[in-house]
């Protein structure tokens, strides 16, 4: 366990000044910034009905933006994470360090999961800041009289994170098989294009990982008795399967 922590901390050092780091911070700010500009320039369109919570509409709009942007971010993040090692010719060196391959794998995988989680957290924070700033700019929009619905925000965050787990695991596995960053990006973009064409829940789309985030379009909190939908369970299954495949490939035959 200590080895995994040490590898994880060393991976954090590697992220300093990288595009992957700035992509996480600035990428998480893009949708909230767009919301801020839209609300400031078209504020009269967003005056809420009497007693309505303006945060609900702002977050709903932001959620629709992030589900399209997040898969792109993940595909690029994982590609860049691998590219860092290939560019530095570092695999051969990492494999002669006194830690197991399993620890190296887990350290890197946990970093990717941390970055995705940070991206989501920053997105929620930046959206909240955007709402706060709009509230100061136009008091009649009601942002200062209401608070965001924490349950809705948390519920969406959990659902979207579960939905992207399949893409994370598949691209982590792909990165071990395909060295070329552009090829991996191409596969991801093709997957996303197909997902958009698939048009919603049910049927084959439930088994196509790139479609899962899009299924959260126009999100409404689900009822507690059916918390997760079928595609969520399939995403978790893909995550378990491809994580094990990636671990097996990394430990048994990956040479870098």
């Amino acid at each position: 366990m200590k080895d995994v922590i040490n590898v994880y901390l060393s991976e954090l050092i590697k992220l300093r000044r990288t595009f992957a780091f700035w992509l996480t911070v600035l990428g998480a700010a893009i949708i909230p910034l767009t919301m801020l500009i839209t609300y400031v320039y078209n504020w009269h369109m967003f005056i809420p009905a009497s007693g309505a919570n303006p945060w609900a509409e702002m977050y709903a709009r932001a959620f629709n933006g992030i589900i399209l942007f997040m898969p792109l971010y993940i595909i690029l993040l994982i590609g860049l994470t691998y590219h860092l090692e290939y560019k530095a010719n570092a695999w051969k060196h990492l494999f002669v360090l006194p830690v197991s391959k399993r620890a190296l794998f887990l350290g890197k995988y946990l970093i990717v999961l941390t970055m995705v989680f940070s991206f989501m957290t920053l997105f929620l924070l930046f959206t909240w800041i955007a709402g706060g700033l709009v509230g100061f700019y136009k008091a009649e929009l009601g942002f200062r009289r209401h608070n965001p619905d924490v349950f809705t925000v948390l519920d969406f965050s959990i659902k979207v994170l579960i939905a992207v787990l399949a893409i994370i695991s598949i691209h982590f596995w792909l990165g071990l098989k395909i060295r070329n960053l552009v090829s991996v990006l191409g596969i991801g973009l093709a997957g996303m294009a197909l997902a958009i064409l698939m048009n919603g829940r049910g049927g084959y789309a439930d088994f196509f990982p790139y479609a899962y985030p899009i299924m959260l379009m126009n999100y409404v909190p689900s009822s507690p008795d059916a918390y997760l939908e079928r595609f969520h369970w399939v995403s978790l299954t893909y995550f378990a399967l491809f994580s094990l495949l990636a671990l097996s490939k990394f430990v048994k035959s990956f040479r870098g």
């Binding site: 200590k2 040490n6 060196h93 360090l97 006194p98 430990v251 040479r255």
Partner: protein
């Protein structure tokens, strides 16, 4: 004393039909500096990768510190420092950050980072990003990373690549002092004999995946005298040729110069004595030995 590295009948091919390493045996004892020589593509780096467990041999076995090399035996690598081909450096990070990554994983004290930077003469460049480093500085930083754990075994694949003559001398002196003061066993590969000639105690020359020479540096130097030629000029070269032909191989007699093959320094002295005892005047005696570079080139047939 049991060897630090021992490999027996080691074979490997990236494709089944094309063997890159062909059943080699290798043994490196404690405190040796083993110069691993061979032209480009001879199988040096592949052999080093096999020794470090980065590749699995098709046949044969590798033992380091008496233990089978395997990724399942990761603790073995805490005693080894290695630099394989080009140094593995993250160019967007500083020299200190590159070392810090290794220090954390190896669980070493913080002071070790500054110490190795001083050892490789990069203390002043610790906070400079590696992308601003010259080739030689990168090579030295790669060496610093290999030295970080204070290894008992140091495996360096062409460590002087890209270094200027001053850098080559510095590296050689550093390796010599590590070997002398700490007893570090060193395997250093190169395709240039002159680079390891002054450093190595033992030499292995590999060509097309097989050893063409293995032995001490002294044994390799002795080869210099074998097949060497002494050039002579006397007042009577024909008589000299007749006198010498009973004992030595006289190669040519042309343009007033006699060329005679000899195999030791003592033979060279004997030739001179024999001619003088027969009353011949020796005007010129030029004992030329085969230089090591030529021997190396002959061995690898280049």
């Amino acid at each position: 004393m049991s060897p630090i590295i021992s490999a027996s009948a080691l074979s490997f091919g990236y494709r089944p039909q094309a063997r890159v390493v062909k059943g080699i045996d290798l043994s490196i004892g404690p405190g040796e500096i083993y110069g691993f020589l061979g032209p480009n593509g001879a199988g040096k780096t592949t052999t080093i990768r096999l020794l470090l467990g980065l590749l699995s041999p098709d046949q044969g076995s590798v033992h380091v510190f008496g233990q089978a090399v395997s990724r399942d035996n990761a603790s073995l690598f805490s005693r080894i420092g290695a630099m394989i081909e080009t140094p593995s450096l993250y160019e967007h990070l500083t020299a200190l950050e590159n070392l810090e990554i290794n220090r954390r994983i190896r669980r070493l004290p913080r002071a070790s980072v500054r110490q190795v930077l001083q050892t490789v003469d990069l203390a002043a460049a610790g906070s400079v990003k590696v992308r601003e480093f010259s080739m030689g500085m990168k090579q030295r930083l790669g060496l610093a990373i290999a030295l970080l754990p204070g290894p008992e075994l140091l495996i360096l694949d062409e460590p002087t690549n890209g270094l200027d003559p001053h850098g080559i001398i510095q590296t050689r002196e550093l390796l010599e002092s590590l070997n002398r003061q700490l007893g570090t066993t060193i395997l250093v590969s190169s395709h240039i004999l002159a680079e390891v000639e002054k450093l190595a105690t033992h030499v292995g020359i590999i060509d097309q995946g097989d050893f063409v020479f293995q032995g001490t540096m002294q044994a390799l130097q002795d080869l210099r005298l074998e097949n060497s030629v002494v050039e002579l000029e006397t007042n009577n070269n024909s008589l000299a040729a007749t006198l010498l032909s009973g004992h030595y191989q006289v190669l040519t007699e042309s343009a007033g110069t006699l060329r005679v093959r000899y195999t030791s320094k003592a033979q060279c002295a004997q030739i001179c004595r024999l001619l003088c005892e027969q009353g011949l005047d020796v005007y010129r005696l030029n004992a030329g030995s085969n230089d090591l570079e030529n021997i190396f080139l002959q061995m690898v047939k280049r």
